[in-house]
Structure formats: C-alpha cells, structure tokens
Amino acid sequence: MIHPHPMHHRIGLAHQAFAGDGAEAIAEAGAAVSMSRRRFIKLAGASGLAIGLVSTGGVRAAASSGSDAAELKPDQQPNAFLHIGKNGEVTIQVNRLEFGQGSHTGLAQVLADELDADWSRVRAELAPAGDAYKDPVFGIQMTGGSNSIQNSFTQYRELGARARAMLVEAAARTWEVDVSTIRTREGRLISTDGRSADYGEMSEAAMALPVPASVTLKTPDQFRLIGKPVKRLDTPAKSTGRQFFGMDMRRAGMKTVLIARPPYFGGTVAGFDDARARAVEGVDQVMRVELDRGATGVAVVADGFWPAKVGRDHLEVRWEAPASELPDTGRLAAQFEALLVRDGLPARAGDTSGLAGAARTITADFRFPFLAHSPMEPLNALIEVGGMGAERRCDIWTGTQFQTIDQGTVAAILELEPQQVHIHTQFAGGGFGRRATPTADYLADTARVMKAWLAAGRSEPLKVVWTREDDVRGGYYRPFTMHRAEIGLGEDGGIAAWKHTIVSPSILKGTAFEAFLVKDGVDATAVEGIADTAYELPVAVSVHHPEVAVPTLWWRSVGHTHSAFVMETLIDQIAREGGRDPVELRRALLRKHPRHLAALDLAVAKSGYGEKPLPPGRAWGVAVHESFRSVVAHVVELSIEGDRPKLHHVTSAIHCNLAVNPRSVEAQVQGAVLMAIGTTLAGAEITLRDGRVEQSNFHDYTVPRMPDMPPIDVHIVPSDDPPTGVGEPGLPPMAPAIANAVYALTGEPVRSLPIPLG
C-alpha cells in the first residue's frame, strides 16, 4: 500500500535505525516525496479509494472521474480526506495541526462515525498544505480559535456520509441489488440477501463512482463514536517515544542550523568575527542572514545541534540596535498608565453619565505582563529545495498552525509559486498560538536561511532549530496590557454606570487579519470578553492600541486571558461590597443566558459551594466566562501558604454543546486550568529592560509544574447541539477564580497577574 505521506514510513525506520545505518534507509523512504505528483496520484489511485495528497491538483484529478463531483468544493471530496485500503484499513486526513488538543482523534471519530467504519482499523494523518484542507469557514488552512472541531464537524460528517454512500452504491451495483437492501456496520456492507463484504473489497469500485452531492446525516441517537470517550489514536506512540515531531525529522545529508538573533527586536548585525565558530568541529558554514521584521542575524550551519550550538556560542557579533526607542517594561507601564486616563477608540457604547452622581464608585487599574507561549517543543523547520525549472520545489516539514499562509510567505522569499512549496504538517509539541504567525516568522527565517545557503552554492537540506532561549526571547508574546474600570454603584448596590478603558498593543494591525478583525481601528482581540460580555451591564468600553516595538501574538484564549480576569474579579468585588453572594449576583446578571447559567450551576452544585463547610484559612473562588462560543465555570477551594496560593480542589463545568470526545474535553479543560494557574505564579512574566528580554529559559520564566496541579473534576453540560470550542475556553475563568478566593481571604482585590503575594 502507498501512503499519502511517504515520510510516515520513517517513524518505524528511525525507531530501529541505530548507529548510522538509518540514513540510507531514510533517504530511500524520502525519495518518494520527490516523485512527481501525477505519478503519485496514479499509484495511490491503484491502491483503493484513494488519495489525500497535497493539493487541488490531486483533488481535481480524482474528482474528474465523476460528473457531480466537479461541482463539489475540495472540502466536500471524500477522496482528499479518506483512503480505504484493500485490507479495510481506513486512513483519514486531518485538516488541522495536532499539537495536543486532540482533533487528530476527534475529527477521525466524526468522519468514521458517519462512514460506519470499524474504529479499530482507523488511522489518522495530518494533511499537508492544500486547498482541500482549508478551514471551511475561514478559507485558510489553520488551527486556532478553538475551531478545529467547531468548524469541521459538519464537513467531516458529510465526508464520511458521502464515502459511505459511494461504498453502498458500489456494493449495490456489484450484487445487482437496490441500495435500500444494504446496510453498513463497522466497516462492512451487509445485504438483506445475506451477502456481505468488507469496505476494502468495494473501495476501488466506490472510488470510480460520482460523489453524491447530498447525503443524509445520522441523528444523535445513531452515533457510535461521536460523543463517546474514545481513546486517542496517538496515545500509544506518545507513551513509548515513537511519535515523530518536527524536531525529529531527518533527511539524507541534512545540516542543522542555529541562528544568532539580535538581542533587540529589529536589531541588525554591525559586524561579526566567526573565526572561533568555524574552528568548532562539525561547523560547516557561517552566514549572515536576513530575519523577521527587518532584523539580521548570523546562521551557523553544522552537522548536528551540538556543533551548531557551540559554534553559535563562539561567534562574536557586534549588534546594532534599531533606530526606534528600545522597549522597556518600566517605561511601557508609565506610558500605558498615562493612556488609561484618556478615552480611547470606542469599542462599545454605554451611558456613563451615572458615574457622577453614584453613591459609591470603584476605580480599579489592572496590569498584565507579556507572556511567551513556550511550547515544550521549541520551534523548528526542516527545509529542502530541489529540481530545476518547472520541477523546482521546496519541501518543508514542520508543525504549523497556518500552512497556507506559511506556504505563500515561503514561496515569495524563494521566488516560487505557492504550489511549488510543499508543507508536510508534523505533529507539534504544543503551540498555544505561537505556531500561527501572520508573518510566518519562523518559516520565513527558515526560507531566508535556505536562500543564503543556495546563494553560497550549497543545496543540502537544512533543519533550523530554536533553542529554549531563542523561544523565550523571540517575541510574539501575549501583549502587555492594562485596564481601568470606573464603576458607579447606586444606593441599592446596583451598577449605575461603568466606564472601561483598555490599553493593549494590537496583535492584528498590519497583518492579513486586519480586514476581518479590526473595525474602526479597534482590534477585536483586545476587547473581546468585555465589549461583548454576556452580563447585563451598562459598560462603555474604549481602547488604546499603542505602537510597541515588541512582536505580539495570540496566546491561548487571546484577549480573554486578561478580559475575563478583569470582569470576573470586578463582579466579585461588586458583589462583596454590596453584601451579595458572588454566585447569586452572576446568576442575576446572566438570567438571559441559559448556557452560562447551566455551566455555572453545574460547577457550583458539584463543588459543594455554599453547602460544604471549609476548614479555617480556606475560601471559595468562583468565575464563569464565555469564549470561543463555549462557557466554562470554575469553583476553587484555596488557602494561602507562604507566598503562593494553594489550590485544594477545582470543580469545572464546560458548556461546549456536543462533546465529540468527552475524554479530550476533560483533558483540554485540565490543561487550560493548569496553564492559567501558571499565569498567577511569581515569575510568570516576560520583562524588557532597554530593549532586551530579561528572561531566557525555564529557570527564570516560571511555568507550572506537578505540585501546582490541584485535584480537579471536570463536568460537561449535556447537549446535542453542534460543538463549540474546547481548546481555549477553560483558561480565561481560572485565574480570576483563584484571585477571587485570594480576595475572599485577604480582603484585598487582586489587580494584576502574576498574583503578588508574600
């Protein structure tokens, strides 16, 4: 059988490869990659209901066999997503990056359910860059916004149902019976006359049939896989070291590259001495290279990571700072504070006249630091360029959230057409947004290094690797952000007016996303969670987007990382100052929002809040927030030990409509909770001094560890409605739930993250 991605052969090879005999075998397996597309399609086509290669070319070639099929969009073509081998093995192409969130299993579950596949014979692969794999809502290939299941649920169901219909049709023709006499179950076609066949036996005939334009989908009571706690397909490989990540990819003759980057964003090389670097054994080449955002750097090309690292350590580079002012967190704070007292761009209208005559006012300023995503697998990409003329092609193996944006960016740098750039999506060791850069920064840098390498007359494949220090200092942070709320309360404790000002650098201005997400100058990602709050509140929001010379980016749950904290801690303060129970006040303000109420009530009921007595020194903290169309509530039990909050228990409830895989939903909520706990810990911040990032690795940039993980129960509100986001929504309400418990214990509201204690 031919695999859509020949590279997958290498998982086994590399595992066995030992002491040098692997390279040739890998080169051989890799050779299939450069075979021409037409030849590949032919081969793949011969092996069953086929395909799933790269791009529209393959889809079109396959689609042309059926007349209806030509009218169906690429994302409606089963043959781009599904391969059924003669042995009945089903291989599903997943149009998303898998970086921990579980859509590799989840989308396979969805398609396999409508296909009536035998789950024990289902495999899933990550699709390469290609039109068929674009997000059906956004029109680019992407993994983000907690959209993987949300936006592809119906798409994958229809794909499975279409393929099933084609198999049934093929069997009906072969057996000369009516389709209505054939049913399907666990990968088999069964006729009422007693005949039956495995999907594998009919797949070739089915492939030759037209793709049906419309199909009937199952009703929820017919689901066999959707909504079931299915085990992840990638768990065995990930428990035994067999899972390949981008970092593990190899090509014959490959060199490893580390780049010396400027210590300032946008800095450049004034000059360098590479004599000592070149003297390091294993260092092959040292090249000045152009980098992201007009910076320049020095690339060290070597045989393996360690010589590249030692070579880089031995470089002497004189850096030139950019002409603009060097960012400094202290100065930024002062600049942002000055803006807080001025009205910004209007993001939500509201009557603030009630502030003047209010019986009481609350004025609260909040501060949130830059945060690095720091996924466990540092960024990396393997690039290879070969062939001449029309056969010229570039292959990139990397874990990316933005394949088609990367493809276009790399093509422009290497002066190729996008379809000449083949992005082979690799499993990634986390990302949290960092692998979705509108500038394609790390892949653009990789392409620029390759360009310099080619200009030097070389052509070996290059693996460009970031160290942890490169990652922590590399920018694209959650923006440093401040908020000011001025709230006027009436005699009855009711909220009479609320003036809200946000100061946050825009993530999206100047990017391709500006047209969609920036309106009247307001970057939606800076005000989300407040400007669109579900609470019935007279809140007026304005925002300033100061220009800051630090690259910023979406960081798991984006603007909600700060807006939920502000909103949820203020609701607690309003409740406590008005002598009301914080849960009861939330219920009152959310009475028109049944999903919010359902999540809140479930978490509260399961936690024992208000019923279970707590030992002295402990307090409850509650928060609820909607993001990515799901609602999550957390109830925590907390005490303060030394300078750290100590969580004794967390009870979470999520309303994400239909939970395609409850195990995955639980894991995502746990992971989001832990990541949010991380934001409260001392040292969880990136600071800059005179343009230089002060942190560099996990010893000075705090990440949460095993003792920081509390016992946690995750509950899911039952629903049959189409699924909403899961990867991010667990995060926003967690830090404020902690802060609210701290407030209950200390009487001092918390106004910043990390939480200053002790």
Partner: protein
C-alpha cells in the same frame, strides 16, 4: 571515542567529550524519542536512565557515560516497571501533545523502581523537574498510582 551501552547495544561514538548525551542519542544514534526542551536541566524532557538512575541527558557529557549502561524511552518498556507505566499511560490517555512524555515516563519508572507505593508528596518530588506545558499532570499522577497498584 566513547564506548557505552544503549538499550542493550554496545556503541562507540566519536564526538567531543563535552557533547551532551542528549545530542549523541538524537543526532549520532538517531534515537529521537528522547527530547530537547531546555538544555539546562530545567524541564526533564531529555530524561534517560544511566545505570538505572534518572539523569538529564542534556547536561550529561558523553564522557561521563563511558562504560555505562543507558536506557532510553525506546527500550524502557522492556522492563516490568516500564511496561506497567506505559500501560497505565495508555489507560489514562495521559499525553496531549506528547512532547514531554518520554521524559515523564522515564521519571515515573525511576520513581517506581525506588518506591513501590509513592504518596502524592513523593510523586510531586519525583516529577517536579518534568515540565508539561499541556498540563497532563493530573493524569500523570493517576497513571503512576495505577501502575504502582498493578505492580504491587
């Protein structure tokens, strides 16, 4: 030339003495199950067993393993404890992105080799050096306890 044993195979590698074992495993021996996460003993992704003890291979110079026996994630499942831990990992669907998990498994196996019935505090102490950015800690804890129960 440094000679040592990896996963039952005698190997000799010709790299500088100060080259960390991690890069010898990954780049010279193509055993990529052992991961790079920080390079300074801060994350545990690179954990292997050296003569049965867990070490961070990113800060272990290859010269220090001359004549020693190294076991990596590729082989740890051959042992009774390793097999039980990996089985528990699969039962609990511990991994998310999976990148930290080789190191987590190696640390968990070392813990159970020392301590057949670890308490929560024992687990905290043994696993605090293994970072998981995805937040799989709750399931790691449950899987370690399940493996301990199975081995008892």
């Amino acid at each position: 030339m440094t000679r040592f044993n990896v996963n039952g195979n005698d190997v000799s590698v010709d790299v500088g003495d100060s080259t960390p074992l991690l890069w010898v495993l990954r780049d010279s021996l193509e055993l990529t199950g052992t991961k790079y996460g920080c390079g300074m003993a801060q994350c545990g992704a690179c954990t292997v067993h050296l003569n049965g003890r867990p070490v961070r291979s990113c800060v272990t110079p290859v010269s220090a393993v001359e004549g020693a026996a190294v076991v990596t994630i590729e082989q740890v499942g051959d042992g009774r404890i390793g097999a039980a831990v990996q089985e528990a990992w699969m039962q609990h669907d511990v991994p998310q992105c999976g990148y930290c998990q080789s190191g987590q498994v190696m640390s968990a196996v070392a813990l159970l080799a020392d301590n057949a019935a670890p308490t929560d505090a024992d687990i905290d102490a043994a696993m605090v050096g293994n970072v998981c950015r995805c937040g799989t800690y709750a399931r790691i804890r449950a899987a370690i306890k399940a493996a301990a129960a199975r081995l008892a």
